[in-house]
């Protein structure tokens, strides 16, 4: 919705929030529900009111828990039963410099200031540790904004007794904690308040009248920034920038003016602006953003522009270059298809409002920012937060090369008449192993991002992924795929849970026995799983090796593997990786004495491509519920013939 896209009119949002919310709820129905606990050190009412709008805009329907005024610490430390039973998917801690209780004073010796710093930090650290222990969910924590006045003037940051020095040091300790703990994210209100204007931000009327940590008018900016982190944590970042060329990446029209007359480089002020923008765009690759061109141009002219000696971006920085006379909306759709991603993962950047309009109207879901004039491009794209970084995996940094390699594979494919011959020519090597520490972030990211090749579309946080990996009731496998054109990274994830045929009923409802049995803090007394939970504990204690969780010694009747998750990145479609994963699951079952594999397909708006997937894997359909869930059974035969014959797999054994 235009009203909620950066740059937005915050005051309009504040005034018309009720009307906007109604329109958002009427506009779509495919929301993902998330339970978000807001634990405040100051008033949070309007932060939540506006945050809800920005999350709805991202397709997330939030249910909020709001702590009583300034009870953030008590709620966590004294196990507020309401918060426990709320079972948040995410906790946001809204504290500000108004919550710093032990400021140093000028006469304090350095050692005392250090002591106060440690004391103030520990107040937060114990709370975060408690959250990690009890809630296992992502945490977003504000850092601290600068104070609004400076007793030591310009030396506030120099003397350790100064409040700016104290805030800087405290913030650095927060960052250190974030670096060392996954699932913990900083909400940078220090930057935000500076960007907004600290004097306006810190208008003390709002603190003294209403106990707001910042002024009312800053709340939309605040909530927008926060919503960006939340949508990123839940896997709703954009993936690619689709860029126009003329007057977007350089000044002038290459076809009319000739490449030698384009404004790019250090010669003119406008040329410098475009150079800086090209550098900004190029740097996006480092955080895993894919770049594509969508330009109305002769292809040769586009290439001449991109090879301009003063340019920063080069043709091989782009995974795809569409320079033709097709409507830009058609090109945008084609780009999404060729990259195997959905249009709602794209950001289209064009200086021309008419082109923006056609893409916006014809290609549902594409983000089309009003990027303003060239000197504003960077700010608008940056503050929009399309690619908000919450984890930086190796795969992110290499994504562009991976997709470029994919394009090379396509060329290769055209040279082979026989598809199997083509696959063999790729010299594919796979690694299929139980979840390992280095890949937890990527695995969690995949569970949140994969929509199309995803049988159950269950979303998990990194903490949950780690829990599965450590739990002997689960068989987990990730799959990596490398070929002669490059490393695709981790591309497939399967999670199975050992149980009995009786569990099928739970799965057919879209639930899992783990939901009821193994999360004691969410459990009610009557929960049918309580016996199971104890049993599970015994089994876990009795379980032997990691690879053979239950074994025959543990629970002889846990001989059915229920596939709770099976997903694959679309970048490796039709490479037989799914067959390799199947072989690996069969091998894992053998080791544990499980003779049956049960698969479940939960239909969503986006995963129709795998509706019949289990059939191709050799499963038989046993049931179909009235909600469209299909249930599939695979009895492992005495002689199982490996289905994958083209990937050389190194696996766990």
């Amino acid at each position: 919705m235009r009203e909620l896209e950066y740059p937005f009119d915050g005051e309009l949002i504040l005034k018309k929030s009720k009307k906007i919310k109604r329109a958002l709820l009427e506009g779509r129905s495919d929301f993902t529900k998330k339970r978000i606990a807001v634990l405040g050190g100051s008033t949070t009412h309007d932060i939540i009111r506006v945050l809800e709008l920005f999350l709805l805009e991202q397709g997330i329907c939030p249910v909020f828990y709001e702590s009583e005024y300034a009870q953030y610490w008590q709620d966590v430390m004294f196990d507020n039963p309401e918060l426990l039973s709320f079972a948040p998917d995410l906790i946001f801690i809204h504290t500000s410099n108004r919550n710093i209780t032990v400021w140093p004073s000028v006469p304090d010796p350095q050692e005392r200031v250090d002591g106060l710093l440690a004391e103030q930090y520990d107040h937060f650290r114990v709370m975060w540790e408690k959250i990690a222990q009890v809630y296992h969910c992502p945490v977003i924590q504000n850092n601290f904004e600068y104070p609004s006045y400076r007793l030591l003037g310009n030396q506030e940051g120099v003397y350790p007794q100064g409040r700016i020095s104290f805030v800087n040091r405290l913030n650095e300790k927060f960052y250190q904690y974030a670096r060392e703990h996954g699932n913990f994210y900083i909400h940078d209100i220090n930057y935000l308040s500076a960007s907004y204007g600290l004097d306006r931000w810190a208008d003390s009327l709002y603190w003294h009248m209403y106990k707001y940590a910042c002024c009312m008018q800053a709340i939309p900016v605040f909530s927008y920034n926060l919503a960006n982190i939340i949508k990123s944590v839940f896997g709703r970042n954009k993936k690619a920038l689709v860029l126009d060329l003329d007057n977007t990446l350089w000044g002038g029209v290459v076809g009319d003016d000739g490449p030698e007359n384009l404004e790019i480089g250090q010669e003119t002020p406008m040329g410098q602006v475009y150079s800086e923008f090209q550098s900004y765009v190029k740097a996006q690759k480092e955080i895993g953003v894919m770049l594509a061109v969508n330009s109305k141009n002769e292809y040769d002219n586009a290439m001449a522009g991109l090879n301009h000696p003063e340019g920063v971006l080069r043709p091989d920085d782009f995974v795809l270059i569409k320079a033709n006379w097709e409507p830009k909306s058609d090109n945008t759709t084609a780009i999404a298809q060729e990259l195997n991603i959905l249009p709602d993962s794209l950001v289209f950047v064009d200086d021309n409002p008419a082109e923006r309009e056609i893409v916006s109207a014809q290609t549902a879901g594409v983000a089309v920012p009003e990027i303003g004039t060239p000197e504003q491009y960077i700010r608008v794209l940056d503050h929009s937060g399309f690619f908000e970084v919450t984890s930086l995996s190796e795969d992110d940094r290499k994504r562009n090369e991976m997709y470029r390699a994919n394009m090379a594979r396509k060329v290769q494919q055209e040279r082979f008449a026989d598809y199997r011959e083509y696959l063999l020519s790729l010299e594919m090597q796979g690694t299929i192993r139980p979840f390992e520490a280095v890949y937890m972030a990527r695995i969690a990211q995949l569970t949140n991002k994969s929509n199309q090749f995803n049988l159950t579309t269950r979303r998990f946080t990194q903490a949950q992924i780690e829990t599965f990996a450590a739990d002997s009731a689960y068989i987990t496998r990730y799959g990596k795929l490398t070929d002669r054109f490059g490393d695709n990274g981790v591309v497939s994830v399967v999670i199975g849970r050992l149980g009995t045929m009786a569990d099928v009923e739970v799965y057919s409802r879209g639930e899992t026995p783990g939901d009821v049995a193994c999360q004691p803090e969410k459990q009610t007394k009557e929960a049918p799983g309580s016996v199971a939970c104890q049993l599970e504990k015994q089994i876990k204690e009795a379980a032997g090796s990691e690879l053979c969780p239950r074994g025959e010694q543990g629970m002889p009747d846990a001989d059915v593997l229920h596939l709770e998750l099976w997903l694959m990145s679309c970048r490796v479609l039709k490479r037989d990786m799914e067959y390799a994963m199947m072989d690996s699951m069969v091998a894992a079952c053998r080791e544990c004495g499980a003779g049956t594999i049960m698969g479940y397909y939960y239909p969503t708006a986006k995963n129709a491509m795998v509706k019949e997937f289990y059939q191709t894997m050799g499963f038989e359909k046993t049931d179909e519920t009235d909600t469209g869930v299909t249930i599939w059974k695979f009895e492992i035969p005495a002689e199982y013939e490996k289905k994958n014959t083209v990937i050389d797999v190194e696996s766990a054994s």
């Binding site: 504040l14 005034k15 009720k18 009307k19 009412h45 009327l205 707001y212 009312m216």
Partner: protein, 80 residues
């Protein structure tokens, strides 16, 4: 700006903030007259009024304001 104009524009602001097209405010209107007008909505309302008229209430005014009439008085005194 005439007092009448101020009230016309105030009506618009109240209708937006409380999402109710039926609202018409008068000099005597107070929080008791509008169901959703609680202390939290009050903050939002004042911010919206400030934006509409391009002015700011100071803390003393916020604390002492008794009804919409007094609100209109302050607005008129500030924007002339």
């Amino acid at each position: 700006m005439s007092r009448e104009e101020v009230f016309d524009r105030l009506n618009e602001v109240f209708r937006d903030v409380f999402d109710d097209e039926e609202i018409t405010v008068t000099d005597a209107t107070t929080a008791d007259d509008i169901e959703e007008w609680d202390s939290l909505e009050h903050i939002n309302l004042l911010a919206a009024v400030e934006q509409e008229f391009g002015m700011k209430f100071n803390m003393g005014q916020v604390v002492s304001m008794k009804n919409v009439g007094e609100m209109a008085d302050i607005i008129i005194s500030q924007i002339g």
